[in-house]
Each structure stands twice: as C-alpha cells, then as structure tokens.
Symmetry: C2
Subunit: 251 residues, 2 copies
C-alpha cells in the first residue's frame, strides 16, 4: 500500500528532523549507516488515513517522523478501543513482522510523514546489528510499559482520575519530542478519541472534562490543550512518574 518514492528522500537519515532531539540516544556512524540503508522510502499520509489494518499483513515497518497517529482495536459490533498514540520517534508495525498479521489498526490523526522499512530486511538487522536489535526490543518493552499503565488507568481509576492521567500522559510524551510548550500543546484529537482511549462514553467524557475546566485544572479549545494546574492534576491522577528517564533509540 505505501508507495515508497524511488526518488530522493525529503528527509534522508543524515538530515533527520528529529534525531537531534535530546531524548534520543546518539547513534554511531555505523548504526546510522545501516538505518539509512534500511530505510526504503517515506510515506506521507493525510489525517484519517489508515496506515495499518487489523487482520492484514503489512510488508512494511514504520517510524513516525512527523505527526500523530493512534493504534486501536475494534469489536465486531463497532466498539472501538484506542490502545495508544504514536508520536515522532515511535515504531509501528512490529507485530506484523513477528506474527505476519496485524492484530490492531493504526490511523493518522494529522498529516504525517513516516519512514518506511521493508519487513523482509528486519532479519538483517538482527543478524548484523546487535545494538539495533536491542533497540527494537527496547522499543517493544517501552510500548508494553505504556500499555501496562493504560490498563491500570482504565481498569482501576475512576472517570476524573483517568482523564487527568491521560492528559498528563499525552502532555509528557509530546513534550519529550518537542511538541509541547511549558504547559500546553496542540492536541489533534476529538473528545471521541479521548473517550475511546479511556473506555468511557463520549457524553461522560465531556462531562468529566467539564469538571476539569470548572476546577480550573485545564483548558482545551480548538485543539489546544493547556494545563493550568499541573500539581493538582498529578494529585488527582495519582501520577507516578512513568517515564524511563532514559535516552531512547530512534530506528
């Protein structure tokens, strides 16, 4: 599905727009060289585009360069659960490489640019680049860590705690990759997305947000979210830190 333009890349790895961010661990020339050769192209998609589809088998892996997406699963009757969001630096499609078939879908929230890697070469990475294969595992473990937190969130926090937690989570992740200000960010999602992440109905999500507005903890209009009282929000959410604090790899 993704057409990897044979022509020159807009973002060759040597001029990667995000690698310079201080959250990413420095790569050796050798590592960078392999990643550059591994990269087969760039995929540019519009908002709402489906990047990966549950039940299909993708021949590609992706790293988000620019933009936001979300991973989700659906029940046959249409109920949707958003599992996680993907931001610049996040790796998508690993499951298809391991199991042949995607067990979730991925949809773009904004216009996006993704690095495209051919799945059949992942094995080369494992054979010849121990540090990078360690990195792939690292990324998988981090995703697992986030899912653990979300499961705790949906399973054991009530509506207001849960919402506060998710807002903090999104803010921290955006901030890590330079997409947030001191206490605000452009959040390209609707209340429906929030609801589907939180495991709540959209109406109840709306009412819960209202309580957060009324208590002057956050403001959110026209896609811009502002955190007005970080401490109070953390208190409500029983926030625990969550970040690994470590430099992370960027494949």
């Amino acid at each position: 599905m993704p057409s990897s333009s044979g022509s020159a890349l807009k973002y060759p790895c040597e001029q990667c727009p995000i690698r310079g961010l201080k959250v990413f661990r420095p790569f050796t020339a050798e590592e960078l060289g392999f990643v550059a050769s591994f990269k087969a192209g760039e995929l540019v998609v519009d908002p709402r585009a489906t990047i990966l589809q549950e039940g299909t088998s993708s021949t590609h892996l992706f790293t988000v360069l620019i933009g936001w997406a979300f991973r989700y699963k659906m029940l046959p009757d249409g109920r949707r659960q958003i599992l996680n969001f993907a931001l610049p630096g996040d790796f998508l499609g690993l499951q298809a490489s391991m199991f042949n078939e995607m067990t979730h879908s991925v949809e773009a929230l904004t216009s996006m640019t993704l690095c495209v890697f051919p799945r059949e070469r992942i094995w080369e990475l494992y054979e010849h680049h121990a540090s990078l294969s360690f990195d792939v595992t690292w990324l998988a473990a981090r995703e697992e860590q986030i899912l653990d937190s979300h499961l705790l969130n949906v399973g054991r926090r009530n509506a207001i705690e849960r919402t506060a937690y998710l807002i903090l989570h999104l803010f921290m992740r955006a901030r890590d990759v330079g997409l947030a200000g001191k206490a605000n960010l452009a959040l390209p999602i609707t209340q429906q997305h929030l609801a589907d992440t939180l495991g709540m109905s959209i109406v109840h999500t709306n009412k819960t947000l209202r309580r957060l507005y009324d208590r002057k903890l956050i403001s959110w209009k026209s896609q811009r979210l502002e955190i007005l009282d970080m401490e109070a929000l953390k208190e409500i959410a029983e926030w625990d830190g969550e970040s690994t604090g470590q430099l992370r790899p960027l494949i």
Copy 2:
C-alpha cells in the same frame, strides 16, 4: 534475591520439562547450548511469593518452567490491576533489563520453578545470537498483543462479556502449554484475582460469574474451572481467535 544454586540443576536445559511441547519451536543445538550456558540457576518459590517488585531493579531475568504467576501494578491507595498472567514458557523481567527499574510486580500463584538468567549477560545474547534476540523481541511483541486484547476487554466489553473473554483467554493459554483438558483446567486463582484483572469489584465479579453458572456456560469449584458451552461463551465474548497460531520460542 534468587539464589542460583551452584549445585546441579534439577532441570538442565537438555532435559527441559517443557521444551518438548509442540507449541515451542525447535531449537538448534547451538541455540540450546547458549541458553544452557545462559541459565544461571533455578528459582523455586511458594505461592504468594513476590518474584519481582515494582520500583526495584532486578539483576535477573526469568523463564517460567512450572507454575502460574501474575503481573500487576498498584496505585498508591492500594487499588490493584492485574496486567497479565505468566505460565510455563513465559519470560519475566525484560523491563528491568531495558530500563533498570521494574514498573510492575510479579507474584506467584502456585509453587513455581523458574529458570534464572543473569541480566548482565543479555547483551551477549544480542551480540552473538541473532535468532535468540529475535526471539526475545518476539516474546515482547506477544506480551504486547495480549495487553492490547486486555485493554480492549476492560475498556469496551461489559461485565459478562469481559468475564467470558478472560475465561476463554486463560483456558486457551493453559491448553497451549498442556495445562488444560479438553474443556477444563486447574485455575489457581481467587475471584479477587479475576476482579483485579477485569477492572471490576469482587462483588460484581461474583454476581457475573453466577450468571455464567446459571446459564450453564461454565462451572468453577475448588480451583477447577470447566467450560460447559464453549460456543456460547465465545459468542458472548465476541471472541476473535487471538492466538498467533505460530510456534513460539522458549528462552
């Protein structure tokens, strides 16, 4: 914490009690040789023992050889969410290897025997054993897949669907490793564990189970669960298959 007995192992890799199961992919002599050398000892624990603790950093990795355990997170006020269960063949403690600090705890449900691997040698595995490092990633991806399903379950299914789904999930996993009969298994958990997995109160879990008994879909007494009507249960759960169908690695 785990004392790796310098003395002879009770279960040397060459006589692994589970590797022969047909769910596990065959290993080459070379792979098996490394795993055998990687294995530093065996850990035997009683039910209720804490194997890994959130917030600490473990110097060991484990593979479950015998017994059941569960992974969980807790909120400061004591609410607990069970994230997943661990059965023979499952790998524990990867997070500590990647991030230094555990972000969840693991507790034994039964008497257990675990293979113990020294964390500092994981790097050796990545450097010299591409196929095994691929396997570690595979295991991480599978865990992620299960967490995705659980998140969908807790976030979007109602009490009876959710319970039906979890019961099926546990049954299938036990069956995969030879721990279940055609439609029954020894399930070493209490209703409290179920409740903490499902994100429900224990009372409501009990009432939901009663509805399943009343409809003659399952029976569960003295730790033995029997599935009386698999098809009906799958229908309620909107069961989707879930298994990768692939042979899995065993580190």
